[in-house]
């Protein structure tokens, strides 16, 4: 079954869609996700984590449409420049151009300025998996800067593939507590130390996001981070993609079944008030946050080298 006689750009399990009908389908899916999980209120100072990649650009593009119809929703993009030569410098140019064109304010924060060292230099100093190091500092900065900018929430471009990978990774590592922090919205508790995060693209696959970005002229080059090939996540991602190719709907099934048990997981692993890092004042499960612990290790490695 097809939508109309125009050339088709996407194939769903039961029909093929043209450019116009696919865009309608995709936007409707995102707006339904926002409404189903109460991701955005009528009045928000909404931060958008922007990397300049397809997911975050598509997210900002659709949220701009939402904000245009709802003047009490204010958008503000923030970008983290980790310092990945040959990759991030290019996506930041795209992010800047996109924000200028769409009239969205953008603030950029770099590891070099905030931590006195780029990610490339950190990886030469300390033998640690790139995505682990990068993730700790990126999450730290996103939360810290979101508070400074008084965001009511922070929207991220996480999609269905990201979530399916996280669920399976946590399962493989016997870490259900980490899964209890997943879902389309996190950090909802009244905790001023942590800005709630929302994932409006939660039910959209990577292929859907890339198709939408391409046909709407948002982006036509989907270069991935050079560090990702080394990650555990990349292994799970490739396994799931092979499975999806042989068994259509696998990733949807993983996420939908997870959503059914998520309320029980959240109940089982209730998170109390987050602690505070004695060094920087950011969120910490013990007396020191992961970012400060990692900075200590970097400093020690630098001194010993």
């Amino acid at each position: 079954m097809n939508c109309c006689n125009n050339p088709k750009v996407f194939e769903l399990s039961n029909k093929k869609l043209c450019k116009e009908h696919f865009s309608e389908y995709f936007e409707s899916k995102v707006f339904k996700t926002i409404s189903q999980f109460n991701l955005i209120d009528k009045e928000e100072n909404l931060g958008v984590a922007l990397s300049g990649g397809k997911d975050s650009l598509t997210l900002l593009f659709i949220l701009s449409k939402l904000a245009a119809k709802n003047p009490k929703i204010k958008l503000h993009a923030i970008c983290i420049d980790e310092g990945i030569e040959g990759y991030r410098n290019k996506t930041i140019i795209t992010a800047k151009e996109f924000c200028k064109k769409n009239d969205v304010p953008l603030d950029i924060y770099s590891y070099e300025k905030e931590f006195k060292m780029s990610l490339d230099k950190m990886l030469k100093t300390l033998d640690i998996k790139p995505c682990t190091m990068c993730g700790i500092f990126r999450r730290y900065l996103l939360n810290k800067k979101s508070k400074e900018l008084n965001f009511t929430k922070l929207a991220t471009g996480h999609n269905l593939d990201d979530e399916a990978q996280s669920i399976v990774m946590n399962q493989f590592k016997n870490n259900l507590m980490a899964s209890a922090r997943l879902g389309p919205i996190s950090g909802i508790k009244k905790n001023r130390a942590f800005v709630p995060r929302i994932k409006p693209l939660y039910l959209c696959s990577e292929k859907e996001v890339a198709t939408y970005a391409f046909i709407n002229g948002i982006l036509d080059d989907f270069t991935e981070c050079p560090n990702v090939v080394k990650s555990y996540r990349a292994q799970v991602r490739d396994m799931l993609n092979n499975f999806e190719n042989n068994n259509l709907g696998t990733k949807n099934a993983i996420v939908n079944s997870f959503l059914e048990i998520l309320p029980e997981l959240k109940e089982k692993y209730k998170f109390g008030e987050a602690g505070m890092c004695k060094e920087c004042g950011e969120v910490a499960s013990k007396d020191k946050c992961n970012a400060c612990k990692l900075l200590d290790r970097l400093e020690k490695a630098k001194t010993n080298s």
Binding site: V9, Q165, V209, D221, T223, E224, R237, N242
Partner: protein, 68 residues
């Protein structure tokens, strides 16, 4: 027939020989690419797996996977 394919960092494109009436699906199989991980275009238009290729076609295959 001969087509020109660019894929990710191989942006200059490489020439490939395919049977007459070969489809995009045949091309992906020949290149050992999982269709879940890419989108394909001819010129500015997206094409699907069942699209029949023509001699001298220039096809761009874009990897959509990301995340670290």
């Amino acid at each position: 027939m001969e087509i020109k394919v660019s894929y990710d960092r191989n942006q200059g494109g490489k020439k490939m020989e395919l049977d007459e009436n070969a489809t995009v699906k045949n091309l992906l199989e020949k290149m050992n690419i999982n269709p879940v991980t890419v989108i394909m275009s001819r010129g500015n238009d997206i094409i699907l797996e069942n699209e029949i290729l023509k001699d001298k076609d220039e096809i761009k295959i874009m990897s959509v996977i990301s995340g670290g």
